[in-house]
């Protein structure tokens, strides 16, 4: 019997060991970014343009570029995601087709991002003649974050209580009116959290935009549809490859910290909205 309890304690100890090690590694990563990145952060760093190939100056246009791409992607993606969810929930009745639809969206979610870059460039860059430009980047990212938005909105729409819909039906509302009167207001939290997660995903993406939407230096705000932007992600990428130069590395860490903060704030707000909803549901 004591052997049995000893075994129990040993395994529990090992579980704690693995968990603590795992958490520690992740904590070290975050701490590293904070410690290495915070010396670079200053008002000038955030609001000046970069000079001397990123070794000097700030990251203002990089931040703007990242914001343009993620906001543009979310803006393009939202109506498509919303529409496809509504079609799935309001017009599709066959469970098989619904299942197939779900499968397709899940598959899209699994596609490696670099493939979005390759094929996205072919479609938007070559066929639409947008070239290496911020428009190409926005469209590629919009496709990439489509599953994120779709799944989140779909969950919200599915969880609308049945009697709300029935009330709308009983009033004789057409599908379009139902959507506006009941479904959209009732699934607003899903639309918001989905969009925030999509923004976070777009902000964190590098591979899909590095050869399709960005240029490294000498780029400010795009003046036309076919001009590239510069972004935090690709800025870090280029500086990181000069890892032997301490100046480059410091600025890379600084840009990394800013990028991480953007992503974390978006995800934290999502978690906060969701936990608030859970509490409401428990009441």
């Amino acid at each position: 019997m004591t052997r049995r309890l000893f075994k129990e304690q040993t395994i529990l100890f090992a579980l704690y060991g693995f968990t603590i090690c795992g958490c520690l590694v992740l904590a070290v990563i975050l701490a590293t970014v904070f410690i290495k990145g915070s010396p670079a952060i200053s008002g000038a760093f955030l609001f000046e343009e970069s000079r001397n190939f990123g070794l000097e100056g700030g990251i203002f246009y990089q931040i703007v570029g990242t914001l343009i791409l993620m906001a543009g992607a979310a803006l393009v993606c939202l109506p498509v995601a919303l529409g496809s969810v509504l079609f799935q929930t309001e017009f599709l009745h066959s469970p098989q087709i619904k299942k197939l639809f779900r499968l397709l969206i899940y598959s899209l979610n699994a596609v490696p991002t670099i493939i979005f870059g390759l094929i996205g460039y072919l479609f938007f860059g070559v066929f639409l003649e947008a070239g290496v430009s911020w428009v190409t980047g926005v469209l590629i990212l919009a496709v990439m974050i489509l599953p994120t938005l779709h799944v989140s909105i779909h969950e919200a729409v599915e969880s609308i209580p049945k009697h709300y819909r029935e009330a709308a039906l009983a009033l004789g509302l057409s599908p379009g009116q139902q959507m506006r009167a009941v479904i959209l207001p009732q699934s607003l939290h899903g639309i918001v959290t989905g969009t925030l997660l999509g923004l976070a995903r777009a902000a964190g993406e590098t591979a899909a935009i590095m050869f399709t939407a960005t240029a490294f230096s000498g780029v400010k705000l795009p003046q036309s549809w076919t001009e590239p932007v510069t972004t935090l992600q690709t800025h870090i990428l280029v500086l990181a490859q000069e890892a032997t130069n301490p100046l480059a590395l410091t600025n890379a860490w600084g840009a990394g910290l800013v990028l991480l903060m953007i992503v974390f704030v978006l995800i934290a707000v999502t978690l906060w909205i969701r936990s608030g909803l859970q509490m409401e549901a428990q009441r």
């Binding site: 049995r4 990563i29 498509v80 079609f87 598959s107 670099i114 094929i119 072919l122 599908p175 964190g204």
Partner: protein
Amino acid sequence: MNVNKMFPERGPAFWWTGFTALIASGTIFILFVSLVVESVPVFKVQGVSFLWGTDWFAGESYGALPMIFGSLMVTGLAVILVLPFALGSAILTSEFLNGRYRLMVKAAMELLAGVPGIIYGLIGIALLTAAVRDVFGLIDGNTLFTAGLLLAVMILPTVMTLAEDALRAVPGEFRDTALSLGLTRMEMVLKVVVPQALPGLAGAVFLGLGRAMGETIAVMLVIGGIDRIPQPWFDLFAPGQSIPSKIGREAAESLGFDLQWSALIALGLVLFVMVMALTSAGNLLLRRAR
């Protein structure tokens, strides 16, 4: 198929949502068909030997084997490294931590799952490569092992979260029954809960594999970038190349229609097929677990 019967009400809302749904569901086909069509030229020139050729010299010959090998190696290594940590923390969180701590761990994991790949890449190139070089006494720290290690850390939150969900999905009755028979808590977990959650746990690992295999940016910065199968093949401390890192390195210089572009797309096709196989298996297992 009778459209009138399937969709009796066809107002403007129907057409708008239908159009967007077509985009959403058609994208995956467009991706696949484009990959196939665009990779035709290289298969025409090289034949299927593209898949097992070992030499890649732009303009001369294109052999994908070193990249396929590198992808399999780093992904496999990442999963082996991540398994004890992801499953251990998933079991501890789902079975031994109470509500508040559990939610805290879950929230932290969700936050960490969002850390951009480029951040991991930066840590890899600035710190990890040097650490691997010094610890293992290598000349260069850019190796398959480094890439695998970095990937393991990257997929830890994803695999842990999914595995924890799978464990939580095991009905409480099984736990009650096991305890009522006089099993200890750990015996209950290991002999009843884990076997019951096995399809879900496997699904979590498969999805993690799929994610690791497609990761580009972090791997690209630390893998070494040499299109060669190490000698001997199991030498993890040699530089190598994975499919995404190869595409990431060369896409910018060959944006266009020559053979190198086609070869890169063909690599993308190979990656697409492998990732889809892993993810489909993972999703299938997860669905069966529910």
